[in-house]
Symmetry: C2
Subunit: 255 residues, 2 copies
């Protein structure tokens, strides 16, 4: 029986700055029925505080501990292992890691660091990994679009360091199993008690199912016709989060 | 029957600035017996002229067209296809490409570009490849040692662009089959008429054999005991280039 919903943000709750019709009420309804909620996103350029503020402005009120982003997951991972990160990440989220000791680093995090991706800093990341520091990736996307230009995302630089140091990165962000399991650990539930709702058939739905969760694809956001058929794993689909929440409540028992 | 020798430079003819005993005479002997000679190296920081000068200073006189380096191979490849390269290569060898038109580029070459590996230039390389420009690599090494520091070589950046643009690089440099075949094309011989002599069991010997040539490992330079057994492909081995040339001459017939 489902006891929690993991909900993607962009494309599921809103598109751009426009709320998906019924999304605010659907989230409120799930909450009223005591489904646990987690909001899971790969965003690597907004702090937790900024995201909570953005959501509030759109009408979604959520608790800080309900928000699960790839940088937060990386932070939790580092903190748990008491590691000192060398951070190649976006300026906007450096504050998220400022509570961790960063002198004499023994771990490397790569996010979309933009101009920080330079030869000297990449060498430093490589040298640390070569000496055995674990490599964390905040997502592993290939590129993103900004002002009509395609720009390199974190993925290619993670691949570069992996190759150079003959290592394998731990990717924190969808569709990584580690990421879903870490979000799961913040609930007290089993994987099969959770439904992930997202608009990305691979990142959200397939990733969740590979981690043992259930998955529901919504036909909003980046959804394109036929996406349901792109994976053979059994999953749900719904016109929007409104229908997805109704499905979850039909399969919910507060035992 | 062998009709040509492909000879690696460092570790086969010399180590540092010290000539391998008998190497000058061995090369002269092969030449006198009319074996065709090609000198093949991956070096990506010395121009053809600089390498020829270095060799001359050590006592080796060779014709410009006998020298085959990864940058020269990349140049020939671009010229043959009449492509305009975007060059992310070492400062020292930029002059090697200055005869090619580089405005409005439609190909990308990546060598060990050091500080030129920055976000803006890597984005430019990626964008071109994303639009269909072929990606050439001058070797694909992971890292090199300089002043006791390990530094990123071209390989990791080639992997980064390959991943970002979902493309596959053509590697010009040993052990790439393309590279050996291009050097072969400069002779008028069949692959099995050529013996590659090198101190790197993978880069020189295995690479050559995979391209259809014969391979001979010399026990000088970077050779380490047991290297002969690291590949199962049949190959020769010799104490040094002196013995390797003798072997070749026993198997030579000027028909």
């Amino acid at each position: 029986m489902l006891k929690a919903l993991f909900i993607d943000l962009s494309g599921v709750l809103y598109v751009g700055n426009k709320v998906i019709p019924g999304a605010v009420a659907a989230v409120a309804k799930a909450r009223a029925k005591q489904l646990q909620l987690r909001f899971v996103t790969n965003t690597s350029r907004r702090t937790r505080t900024q995201i909570l503020m953005d959501l509030k402005n759109l009408g979604f009120e959520l608790a800080e501990e309900e928000l699960f982003t790839a940088p937060i997951a990386a932070h939790a991972w580092l903190q748990e292992k008491q590691l000192r990160p060398y951070c190649l990440i976006h300026q906007n989220i450096k504050s998220e890691f400022s509570d961790l000791i960063q002198t004499n680093p023994n771990a490397v995090i790569i996010g979309d660091a933009e101009q920080d991706f330079c030869y000297d800093k990449l060498n430093r990341a490589f040298q640390l990994c070569q000496q055995g520091a674990p490599l964390l990736g905040i997502g592993c996307n290939r590129f993103f679009k900004l002002d009509e230009q395609l720009l390199l995302d974190a993925g290619p630089f993670i691949k570069a360091i992996e190759f150079a140091a003959s290592t394998q990165a731990i990717i924190l962000g969808k569709p990584s199993r580690d990421f879903f399991l870490q979000a799961l650990a913040s609930t007290n539930l089993q994987a099969d008690q959770v439904l992930m709702i997202g608009d990305d058939i691979y990142g959200d739905v397939e990733g969740a199912i590979n981690a043992g969760l259930h998955g529901c694809l919504v036909r909003t956001g980046k959804y394109q016709q036929g996406d349901e058929n792109k994976i053979s794993l059994p999953h749900q689909s719904a016109d929007s989060i409104v229908e997805a929440v109704d499905y979850a409540l039909l399969n919910y028992r507060n035992s």
